[in-house]
Protein backbone atom coordinates (compact mmCIF):
# COMPACT_ATOMS: atom_id res chain seq x y z
CA UNK A 1 0.00 0.00 0.00
CA UNK A 2 2.78 2.36 1.01
CA UNK A 3 4.60 1.43 -2.22
CA UNK A 4 1.48 2.21 -4.28
CA UNK A 5 1.10 5.57 -2.61
CA UNK A 6 4.71 6.45 -3.32
CA UNK A 7 4.33 5.48 -6.99
CA UNK A 8 1.06 7.35 -7.28
CA UNK A 9 2.04 10.60 -5.67
CA UNK A 10 5.78 10.91 -6.22
CA UNK A 11 6.48 9.18 -9.49
CA UNK A 12 10.13 8.57 -10.26
CA UNK A 13 10.90 10.20 -13.58
CA UNK A 14 12.61 7.93 -16.03
CA UNK A 15 12.77 4.21 -16.57
CA UNK A 16 13.09 1.80 -13.66
CA UNK A 17 13.59 -1.94 -14.08
CA UNK A 18 13.58 -4.11 -10.95
CA UNK A 19 14.78 -7.72 -11.23
CA UNK A 20 13.24 -8.06 -14.67
CA UNK A 21 13.29 -11.36 -16.50
CA UNK A 22 11.96 -11.10 -20.05
CA UNK A 23 11.96 -13.70 -22.81
CA UNK A 24 11.01 -13.59 -26.49
CA UNK A 25 10.31 -17.11 -27.75
CA UNK A 26 13.30 -19.16 -26.66
CA UNK A 27 15.59 -16.11 -26.34
CA UNK A 28 16.26 -14.66 -22.91
CA UNK A 29 16.26 -10.87 -23.37
CA UNK A 30 16.75 -9.88 -19.72
CA UNK A 31 17.67 -11.99 -16.71
CA UNK A 32 17.11 -10.43 -13.26
CA UNK A 33 18.04 -7.06 -14.78
CA UNK A 34 17.77 -3.87 -12.73
CA UNK A 35 18.31 -0.35 -13.96
CA UNK A 36 17.34 3.24 -13.22
CA UNK A 37 17.84 5.73 -16.02
CA UNK A 38 16.37 9.16 -16.78
CA UNK A 39 14.49 9.46 -20.07
CA UNK A 40 14.97 13.16 -20.84
CA UNK A 41 16.37 14.01 -24.24
CA UNK A 42 17.15 11.14 -26.59
CA UNK A 43 18.02 7.69 -25.32
CA UNK A 44 19.46 5.13 -27.73
CA UNK A 45 18.67 1.53 -26.90
CA UNK A 46 21.38 -0.43 -28.66
CA UNK A 47 22.28 -4.10 -28.97
CA UNK A 48 23.06 -6.67 -31.61
CA UNK A 49 20.39 -8.03 -33.96
CA UNK A 50 17.98 -10.27 -32.08
CA UNK A 51 19.12 -9.03 -28.65
CA UNK A 52 15.52 -8.08 -27.82
CA UNK A 53 15.43 -4.28 -28.19
CA UNK A 54 11.98 -4.28 -29.77
CA UNK A 55 10.79 -6.79 -27.18
CA UNK A 56 11.90 -4.48 -24.37
CA UNK A 57 10.03 -1.52 -25.94
CA UNK A 58 6.91 -3.69 -26.25
CA UNK A 59 7.27 -4.82 -22.64
CA UNK A 60 7.42 -1.15 -21.54
CA UNK A 61 4.01 -0.76 -23.22
CA UNK A 62 2.55 -3.88 -21.61
CA UNK A 63 2.23 -5.67 -24.96
CA UNK A 64 4.44 -8.50 -23.71
CA UNK A 65 4.25 -9.91 -20.18
CA UNK A 66 7.35 -10.08 -17.98
CA UNK A 67 8.43 -13.43 -16.58
CA UNK A 68 9.51 -11.72 -13.34
CA UNK A 69 10.14 -8.28 -11.85
CA UNK A 70 8.58 -4.95 -12.77
CA UNK A 71 9.09 -2.10 -15.23
CA UNK A 72 8.07 1.42 -14.25
CA UNK A 73 8.08 4.30 -16.71
CA UNK A 74 7.87 7.67 -14.98
CA UNK A 75 6.78 5.75 -11.88
CA UNK A 76 3.92 3.92 -13.56
CA UNK A 77 3.47 0.27 -14.56
CA UNK A 78 3.10 -0.36 -18.33
CA UNK A 79 -0.71 -0.41 -18.52
CA UNK A 80 -0.86 3.04 -16.91
CA UNK A 81 2.34 4.43 -18.36
CA UNK A 82 1.22 3.81 -21.96
CA UNK A 83 -1.34 6.58 -21.65
CA UNK A 84 1.63 8.95 -21.62
CA UNK A 85 3.71 7.12 -24.22
CA UNK A 86 3.64 7.40 -28.00
CA UNK A 87 4.82 4.39 -29.99
CA UNK A 88 6.04 3.92 -33.54
CA UNK A 89 6.61 0.28 -34.46
CA UNK A 90 9.42 -0.86 -36.72
CA UNK A 91 7.21 -1.25 -39.76
CA UNK A 92 4.96 1.77 -39.96
CA UNK A 93 1.47 0.63 -40.91
CA UNK A 94 0.99 -1.13 -44.23
CA UNK A 95 -2.79 -1.31 -43.84
CA UNK A 96 -5.18 0.74 -45.99
CA UNK A 97 -2.50 2.17 -48.21
CA UNK A 98 -5.08 3.88 -50.43
CA UNK A 99 -6.45 5.98 -47.58
CA UNK A 100 -5.05 9.53 -47.31
CA UNK A 101 -2.26 9.88 -44.76
CA UNK A 102 -4.31 12.38 -42.77
CA UNK A 103 -7.01 9.73 -42.16
CA UNK A 104 -4.41 7.53 -40.47
CA UNK A 105 -3.47 10.37 -38.12
CA UNK A 106 -7.09 11.37 -37.41
CA UNK A 107 -7.85 7.76 -36.45
CA UNK A 108 -5.03 7.88 -33.91
CA UNK A 109 -6.13 11.23 -32.44
CA UNK A 110 -9.35 9.93 -30.91
CA UNK A 111 -9.01 6.20 -31.55
CA UNK A 112 -8.76 5.22 -27.89
CA UNK A 113 -12.43 6.06 -27.28
CA UNK A 114 -15.54 4.03 -28.01
CA UNK A 115 -18.28 5.47 -30.21
CA UNK A 116 -18.39 7.74 -33.21
CA UNK A 117 -16.23 10.83 -33.68
CA UNK A 118 -18.32 13.79 -32.58
CA UNK A 119 -15.90 16.71 -32.43
CA UNK A 120 -14.80 16.51 -36.04
CA UNK A 121 -13.39 20.03 -36.19
CA UNK A 122 -11.24 19.60 -33.07
CA UNK A 123 -9.99 16.28 -34.42
CA UNK A 124 -9.14 17.82 -37.76
CA UNK A 125 -7.25 20.70 -36.12
CA UNK A 126 -5.30 18.36 -33.86
CA UNK A 127 -4.29 16.04 -36.71
CA UNK A 128 -3.25 19.06 -38.81
CA UNK A 129 -1.12 20.27 -35.88
CA UNK A 130 0.57 16.87 -35.52
CA UNK A 131 1.25 16.61 -39.24
CA UNK A 132 2.75 20.12 -39.20
CA UNK A 133 4.94 19.19 -36.22
CA UNK A 134 6.45 16.28 -38.10
CA UNK A 135 6.71 18.15 -41.41
CA UNK A 136 4.10 15.97 -43.11
CA UNK A 137 1.50 18.63 -44.02
CA UNK A 138 2.56 18.83 -47.67
CA UNK A 139 1.65 15.21 -48.40
CA UNK A 140 -1.10 14.71 -45.78
CA UNK A 141 -3.85 14.27 -48.37
CA UNK A 142 -2.00 11.81 -50.56
CA UNK A 143 -2.65 8.08 -50.20
CA UNK A 144 -0.26 6.51 -47.69
CA UNK A 145 0.84 3.92 -50.23
CA UNK A 146 2.19 6.59 -52.59
CA UNK A 147 4.49 8.10 -49.96
CA UNK A 148 8.21 7.35 -49.69
CA UNK A 149 9.60 5.49 -46.66
CA UNK A 150 10.70 8.74 -45.02
CA UNK A 151 7.35 10.43 -45.64
CA UNK A 152 5.47 7.46 -44.23
CA UNK A 153 7.65 7.61 -41.17
CA UNK A 154 6.66 11.24 -40.59
CA UNK A 155 3.03 10.15 -40.72
CA UNK A 156 3.86 7.37 -38.23
CA UNK A 157 5.51 9.94 -35.96
CA UNK A 158 2.41 12.15 -36.14
CA UNK A 159 0.36 9.10 -35.11
CA UNK A 160 2.73 8.44 -32.21
CA UNK A 161 2.37 12.04 -31.03
CA UNK A 162 -1.42 11.74 -30.79
CA UNK A 163 -2.63 12.01 -27.21
CA UNK A 164 0.21 14.43 -26.28
CA UNK A 165 2.63 11.84 -24.86
CA UNK A 166 5.61 12.90 -22.77
CA UNK A 167 7.70 9.99 -24.05
CA UNK A 168 8.10 8.47 -27.52
CA UNK A 169 9.24 4.89 -28.09
CA UNK A 170 10.52 4.54 -31.66
CA UNK A 171 11.49 1.14 -32.98
CA UNK A 172 14.20 1.45 -35.65
CA UNK A 173 13.09 4.84 -37.02
CA UNK A 174 16.24 5.06 -39.18
CA UNK A 175 15.99 1.66 -40.81
CA UNK A 176 15.38 1.61 -44.57
CA UNK A 177 16.35 5.29 -44.97
CA UNK A 178 19.28 6.56 -46.99
CA UNK A 179 21.96 8.74 -45.38
CA UNK A 180 20.14 12.01 -46.15
CA UNK A 181 16.84 10.58 -44.88
CA UNK A 182 18.48 9.44 -41.66
CA UNK A 183 19.98 12.89 -41.08
CA UNK A 184 16.60 14.56 -41.71
CA UNK A 185 14.87 12.18 -39.28
CA UNK A 186 17.50 12.73 -36.58
CA UNK A 187 17.11 16.53 -36.96
CA UNK A 188 13.35 16.16 -36.68
CA UNK A 189 13.61 14.01 -33.54
CA UNK A 190 16.00 16.43 -31.88
CA UNK A 191 13.67 19.27 -32.79
CA UNK A 192 10.72 17.42 -31.23
CA UNK A 193 12.55 16.85 -27.94
CA UNK A 194 13.47 20.53 -27.78
CA UNK A 195 10.16 22.04 -28.87
CA UNK A 196 7.83 19.67 -27.00
CA UNK A 197 10.09 18.85 -24.07
CA UNK A 198 9.42 15.15 -24.51
CA UNK A 199 11.82 12.25 -24.12
CA UNK A 200 12.56 9.83 -26.96
CA UNK A 201 13.79 6.26 -26.65
CA UNK A 202 14.83 4.78 -29.97
CA UNK A 203 16.41 1.59 -31.16
CA UNK A 204 18.88 1.80 -34.01
CA UNK A 205 22.00 0.32 -35.51
CA UNK A 206 22.93 3.66 -37.08
CA UNK A 207 25.17 4.89 -34.28
CA UNK A 208 27.21 7.21 -36.51
CA UNK A 209 24.38 9.53 -37.50
CA UNK A 210 23.21 9.59 -33.87
CA UNK A 211 26.54 10.38 -32.27
CA UNK A 212 26.51 13.77 -30.57
CA UNK A 213 22.70 13.83 -30.64
CA UNK A 214 21.68 11.17 -28.15
CA UNK A 215 21.82 12.02 -24.45
CA UNK A 216 22.67 8.47 -23.36
CA UNK A 217 23.04 4.96 -24.68
CA UNK A 218 21.49 1.95 -22.97
CA UNK A 219 23.26 -1.20 -24.13
CA UNK A 220 21.27 -4.44 -24.11
CA UNK A 221 23.61 -7.42 -23.97
CA UNK A 222 23.89 -10.82 -22.29
CA UNK A 223 20.57 -10.48 -20.46
CA UNK A 224 21.53 -7.18 -18.84
CA UNK A 225 21.37 -3.42 -19.46
CA UNK A 226 24.28 -1.00 -19.20
CA UNK A 227 24.11 2.79 -19.42
CA UNK A 228 26.66 4.99 -21.18
CA UNK A 229 26.28 8.76 -21.02
Amino acid sequence: MAENKRVCCQPERGLVLRDVTLTAGSTCVLRDASLTVPLSGMTLLSGRNGAGKSTLLRAMLGLIPLQAGEILTHGLPPTQARQHIGYMPQSVTDAALLLPAVSHVRAAVDGVRWGLPLRLRARREESDRLLALTGASAFAHRPLGLLSGGERQRVGLAQALAGSPDLLLLDEPLAALDQAGQERTVRLLRDLTERLGIGIVLTSHETEVLSGVVTRVVQLADGGLHVRV
Binding site: P89, A95, R113, W114, Q159
Partner: protein, 268 residues
Amino acid sequence: MFEFDFMRHAFVGAAVVSVLAGTVGWFLMLRRQAFAAHALSHIGFSGAAGAVWLGFPPLSGMVAFSLMAGFVIGAEREGERGVPAQRDSTIGLVLAASLGLGAWFLHMSNRGSSLATTLLFGDVLGIDVPTLEALCGVAVLCLGLLAFLGRRLLFASLAPEVARARGVPARLVSVVFMAVAALACAACAEVAGALLAFSLMIGPAATTLKLGLGPLAGIAVSVGLALGLSWGGLMLSWVTDAPVPFWIGLGAALSYALADLWRRFRSP
Protein backbone atom coordinates in the same frame (compact mmCIF):
# COMPACT_ATOMS: atom_id res chain seq x y z
CA MET B 1 -43.17 -2.81 -61.09
CA PHE B 2 -44.05 -1.25 -57.73
CA GLU B 3 -47.66 -2.37 -57.97
CA PHE B 4 -46.58 -5.78 -56.68
CA ASP B 5 -46.00 -6.43 -52.98
CA PHE B 6 -43.06 -8.73 -53.68
CA MET B 7 -41.27 -5.99 -55.63
CA ARG B 8 -41.83 -3.40 -52.91
CA HIS B 9 -40.53 -5.86 -50.31
CA ALA B 10 -37.55 -6.63 -52.52
CA PHE B 11 -36.64 -2.94 -52.86
CA VAL B 12 -36.96 -2.30 -49.11
CA GLY B 13 -35.00 -5.47 -48.27
CA ALA B 14 -32.30 -4.56 -50.77
CA ALA B 15 -32.04 -1.06 -49.28
CA VAL B 16 -31.66 -2.36 -45.72
CA VAL B 17 -29.04 -4.89 -46.78
CA SER B 18 -27.17 -2.31 -48.89
CA VAL B 19 -26.73 0.10 -45.99
CA LEU B 20 -25.40 -2.77 -43.92
CA ALA B 21 -23.19 -4.25 -46.64
CA GLY B 22 -21.71 -0.88 -47.64
CA THR B 23 -20.73 -0.06 -44.08
CA VAL B 24 -19.54 -3.45 -42.84
CA GLY B 25 -17.89 -4.19 -46.19
CA TRP B 26 -15.83 -0.99 -45.97
CA PHE B 27 -14.33 -2.11 -42.66
CA LEU B 28 -13.85 -5.68 -43.92
CA MET B 29 -11.85 -4.42 -46.91
CA LEU B 30 -9.92 -1.98 -44.75
CA ARG B 31 -8.94 -4.90 -42.50
CA ARG B 32 -8.13 -7.08 -45.52
CA GLN B 33 -10.78 -9.60 -44.55
CA ALA B 34 -12.38 -10.20 -47.94
CA PHE B 35 -11.83 -13.93 -47.47
CA ALA B 36 -13.68 -13.76 -44.16
CA ALA B 37 -16.65 -12.09 -45.89
CA HIS B 38 -16.62 -14.79 -48.56
CA ALA B 39 -16.38 -17.56 -45.97
CA LEU B 40 -19.01 -16.18 -43.61
CA SER B 41 -21.69 -16.04 -46.30
CA HIS B 42 -20.90 -19.62 -47.37
CA ILE B 43 -20.96 -20.73 -43.76
CA GLY B 44 -24.38 -19.08 -43.53
CA PHE B 45 -25.50 -21.35 -46.37
CA SER B 46 -24.73 -24.42 -44.23
CA GLY B 47 -26.61 -22.92 -41.30
CA ALA B 48 -29.61 -22.20 -43.50
CA ALA B 49 -29.61 -25.78 -44.77
CA GLY B 50 -29.50 -27.01 -41.17
CA ALA B 51 -32.36 -24.72 -40.19
CA VAL B 52 -34.51 -25.98 -43.06
CA TRP B 53 -33.79 -29.58 -42.04
CA LEU B 54 -34.87 -28.81 -38.46
CA GLY B 55 -37.93 -26.84 -39.59
CA PHE B 56 -36.73 -23.30 -38.78
CA PRO B 57 -36.59 -20.27 -41.12
CA PRO B 58 -33.36 -20.28 -43.19
CA LEU B 59 -32.35 -16.79 -41.91
CA SER B 60 -32.18 -18.07 -38.31
CA GLY B 61 -29.77 -20.83 -39.32
CA MET B 62 -27.68 -18.42 -41.37
CA VAL B 63 -27.40 -16.03 -38.44
CA ALA B 64 -26.56 -18.78 -35.94
CA PHE B 65 -23.89 -20.44 -38.07
CA SER B 66 -22.30 -17.22 -39.32
CA LEU B 67 -22.23 -15.84 -35.80
CA MET B 68 -20.48 -18.91 -34.40
CA ALA B 69 -17.95 -18.83 -37.21
CA GLY B 70 -17.47 -15.07 -36.70
CA PHE B 71 -16.59 -15.64 -33.05
CA VAL B 72 -14.10 -18.39 -33.92
CA ILE B 73 -12.43 -16.28 -36.64
CA GLY B 74 -12.43 -13.09 -34.58
CA ALA B 75 -11.08 -14.72 -31.42
CA GLU B 76 -7.91 -15.93 -33.08
CA ARG B 77 -4.83 -15.00 -31.13
CA GLU B 78 -2.95 -12.09 -32.59
CA GLY B 79 0.62 -12.45 -33.76
CA GLU B 80 3.61 -10.25 -33.04
CA ARG B 81 2.54 -7.35 -35.24
CA GLY B 82 -1.08 -7.19 -34.19
CA VAL B 83 -2.45 -9.27 -37.07
CA PRO B 84 -3.54 -12.87 -36.54
CA ALA B 85 -0.70 -14.99 -37.88
CA GLN B 86 -2.85 -17.82 -39.25
CA ARG B 87 -6.01 -15.94 -40.13
CA ASP B 88 -6.48 -17.47 -43.59
CA SER B 89 -5.85 -21.01 -42.34
CA THR B 90 -8.40 -20.60 -39.56
CA ILE B 91 -11.01 -19.15 -41.91
CA GLY B 92 -10.35 -21.83 -44.53
CA LEU B 93 -10.76 -24.68 -42.08
CA VAL B 94 -13.87 -23.22 -40.43
CA LEU B 95 -15.29 -22.83 -43.95
CA ALA B 96 -14.39 -26.39 -44.95
CA ALA B 97 -15.94 -27.88 -41.81
CA SER B 98 -19.16 -25.91 -42.14
CA LEU B 99 -19.56 -26.67 -45.86
CA GLY B 100 -19.19 -30.35 -44.99
CA LEU B 101 -21.95 -29.93 -42.41
CA GLY B 102 -24.03 -28.06 -45.00
CA ALA B 103 -23.78 -30.96 -47.44
CA TRP B 104 -24.93 -33.31 -44.69
CA PHE B 105 -27.84 -31.03 -43.73
CA LEU B 106 -28.96 -30.87 -47.38
CA HIS B 107 -28.77 -34.66 -47.58
CA MET B 108 -30.82 -35.07 -44.39
CA SER B 109 -33.44 -32.48 -45.32
CA ASN B 110 -34.13 -34.45 -48.48
CA ARG B 111 -34.72 -31.28 -50.50
CA GLY B 112 -31.33 -31.26 -52.13
CA SER B 113 -31.02 -29.31 -55.32
CA SER B 114 -33.97 -26.89 -55.22
CA LEU B 115 -33.16 -25.82 -51.66
CA ALA B 116 -29.46 -25.52 -52.46
CA THR B 117 -30.24 -23.32 -55.47
CA THR B 118 -32.42 -21.00 -53.40
CA LEU B 119 -29.84 -20.70 -50.64
CA LEU B 120 -26.89 -20.28 -52.96
CA PHE B 121 -28.45 -17.72 -55.30
CA GLY B 122 -30.89 -16.03 -52.94
CA ASP B 123 -34.54 -15.27 -53.36
CA VAL B 124 -34.87 -11.52 -53.11
CA LEU B 125 -38.25 -11.58 -54.81
CA GLY B 126 -39.57 -13.99 -52.20
CA ILE B 127 -38.94 -11.78 -49.15
CA ASP B 128 -42.02 -11.65 -46.93
CA VAL B 129 -42.87 -9.18 -44.18
CA PRO B 130 -41.52 -11.27 -41.25
CA THR B 131 -38.21 -11.69 -43.11
CA LEU B 132 -38.15 -7.95 -43.79
CA GLU B 133 -38.67 -7.27 -40.09
CA ALA B 134 -35.90 -9.70 -39.21
CA LEU B 135 -33.56 -7.98 -41.72
CA CYS B 136 -34.35 -4.58 -40.20
CA GLY B 137 -33.65 -5.96 -36.70
CA VAL B 138 -30.29 -7.38 -37.79
CA ALA B 139 -29.37 -4.12 -39.55
CA VAL B 140 -30.20 -1.95 -36.52
CA LEU B 141 -28.24 -4.26 -34.22
CA CYS B 142 -25.20 -4.35 -36.54
CA LEU B 143 -25.12 -0.60 -37.19
CA GLY B 144 -25.56 0.08 -33.46
CA LEU B 145 -22.63 -2.18 -32.60
CA LEU B 146 -20.51 -0.62 -35.36
CA ALA B 147 -21.29 2.86 -34.05
CA PHE B 148 -20.24 1.72 -30.57
CA LEU B 149 -16.97 0.19 -31.83
CA GLY B 150 -16.46 3.21 -34.13
CA ARG B 151 -13.23 5.01 -33.39
CA ARG B 152 -11.49 2.05 -31.75
CA LEU B 153 -12.33 -0.22 -34.69
CA LEU B 154 -10.94 2.32 -37.15
CA PHE B 155 -7.76 2.87 -35.12
CA ALA B 156 -7.20 -0.88 -34.60
CA SER B 157 -7.79 -1.48 -38.32
CA LEU B 158 -5.38 1.20 -39.55
CA ALA B 159 -2.59 0.81 -37.00
CA PRO B 160 -3.18 -2.38 -34.95
CA GLU B 161 0.09 -2.29 -33.04
CA VAL B 162 -0.07 1.41 -32.19
CA ALA B 163 -3.70 1.00 -31.09
CA ARG B 164 -2.82 -1.89 -28.78
CA ALA B 165 0.09 0.12 -27.39
CA ARG B 166 -2.37 2.86 -26.43
CA GLY B 167 -4.65 0.41 -24.65
CA VAL B 168 -7.24 -0.35 -27.34
CA PRO B 169 -8.55 -3.90 -26.63
CA ALA B 170 -7.86 -5.00 -30.20
CA ARG B 171 -8.92 -8.63 -29.70
CA LEU B 172 -12.28 -7.69 -28.17
CA VAL B 173 -12.83 -5.19 -30.97
CA SER B 174 -11.94 -7.88 -33.51
CA VAL B 175 -14.34 -10.46 -32.01
CA VAL B 176 -17.28 -8.04 -31.83
CA PHE B 177 -16.57 -6.81 -35.36
CA MET B 178 -16.49 -10.34 -36.75
CA ALA B 179 -19.82 -11.02 -35.04
CA VAL B 180 -21.22 -7.92 -36.75
CA ALA B 181 -19.73 -9.05 -40.07
CA ALA B 182 -21.28 -12.50 -39.62
CA LEU B 183 -24.73 -11.02 -39.03
CA ALA B 184 -24.31 -8.70 -42.00
CA CYS B 185 -23.22 -11.59 -44.27
CA ALA B 186 -26.27 -13.60 -43.21
CA ALA B 187 -28.52 -10.66 -44.01
CA CYS B 188 -26.85 -10.12 -47.40
CA ALA B 189 -27.15 -13.83 -48.21
CA GLU B 190 -30.90 -13.54 -47.74
CA VAL B 191 -31.01 -11.07 -50.64
CA ALA B 192 -28.13 -12.00 -52.93
CA GLY B 193 -27.68 -15.66 -51.98
CA ALA B 194 -24.72 -17.29 -50.25
CA LEU B 195 -22.61 -17.35 -53.41
CA LEU B 196 -22.94 -13.65 -54.19
CA ALA B 197 -23.64 -12.16 -50.77
CA PHE B 198 -20.10 -10.99 -50.49
CA SER B 199 -20.28 -9.23 -53.86
CA LEU B 200 -22.44 -6.59 -52.15
CA MET B 201 -20.00 -6.43 -49.23
CA ILE B 202 -16.80 -6.37 -51.24
CA GLY B 203 -17.64 -4.66 -54.56
CA PRO B 204 -18.73 -1.22 -53.31
CA ALA B 205 -16.15 -1.15 -50.49
CA ALA B 206 -13.25 -2.13 -52.76
CA THR B 207 -14.34 0.46 -55.32
CA THR B 208 -14.52 3.17 -52.65
CA LEU B 209 -11.10 2.35 -51.23
CA LYS B 210 -9.69 2.44 -54.75
CA LEU B 211 -10.96 6.03 -55.03
CA GLY B 212 -8.78 6.97 -52.02
CA LEU B 213 -11.61 8.46 -49.97
CA GLY B 214 -11.34 8.98 -46.20
CA PRO B 215 -13.50 7.00 -43.75
CA LEU B 216 -16.66 9.15 -43.60
CA ALA B 217 -16.86 9.88 -47.33
CA GLY B 218 -15.74 6.32 -48.07
CA ILE B 219 -18.49 4.68 -46.06
CA ALA B 220 -21.12 7.04 -47.51
CA VAL B 221 -20.04 6.30 -51.10
CA SER B 222 -19.79 2.58 -50.34
CA VAL B 223 -23.38 2.55 -49.06
CA GLY B 224 -24.52 4.57 -52.08
CA LEU B 225 -22.82 2.16 -54.47
CA ALA B 226 -24.28 -0.89 -52.71
CA LEU B 227 -27.71 0.70 -52.98
CA GLY B 228 -27.13 1.44 -56.67
CA LEU B 229 -26.02 -2.14 -57.31
CA SER B 230 -28.88 -3.84 -55.50
CA TRP B 231 -31.66 -1.53 -56.78
CA GLY B 232 -30.08 -1.46 -60.22
CA GLY B 233 -29.93 -5.24 -60.14
CA LEU B 234 -33.61 -5.46 -59.24
CA MET B 235 -34.64 -3.09 -62.03
CA LEU B 236 -32.47 -4.75 -64.66
CA SER B 237 -33.72 -8.14 -63.55
CA TRP B 238 -37.29 -6.89 -64.00
CA VAL B 239 -36.50 -5.70 -67.50
CA THR B 240 -34.25 -8.51 -68.72
CA ASP B 241 -35.44 -11.50 -66.67
CA ALA B 242 -31.82 -12.30 -65.75
CA PRO B 243 -31.33 -13.15 -62.03
CA VAL B 244 -30.69 -10.26 -59.61
CA PRO B 245 -27.36 -11.71 -58.31
CA PHE B 246 -26.09 -11.78 -61.90
CA TRP B 247 -26.51 -8.02 -62.22
CA ILE B 248 -25.16 -7.36 -58.72
CA GLY B 249 -22.02 -9.43 -59.34
CA LEU B 250 -21.47 -7.89 -62.77
CA GLY B 251 -22.07 -4.37 -61.47
CA ALA B 252 -19.65 -4.86 -58.56
CA ALA B 253 -16.86 -5.96 -60.90
CA LEU B 254 -17.64 -3.17 -63.37
CA SER B 255 -17.64 -0.43 -60.73
CA TYR B 256 -14.28 -1.65 -59.44
CA ALA B 257 -12.85 -1.72 -62.96
CA LEU B 258 -14.05 1.86 -63.57
CA ALA B 259 -12.54 3.03 -60.28
CA ASP B 260 -9.28 1.35 -61.24
CA LEU B 261 -9.29 3.10 -64.62
CA TRP B 262 -10.03 6.45 -62.97
CA ARG B 263 -7.16 5.90 -60.54
CA ARG B 264 -4.74 5.07 -63.35
CA PHE B 265 -5.92 8.06 -65.35
CA ARG B 266 -5.37 10.41 -62.42
CA SER B 267 -2.03 9.00 -61.28
CA PRO B 268 1.04 10.63 -62.80
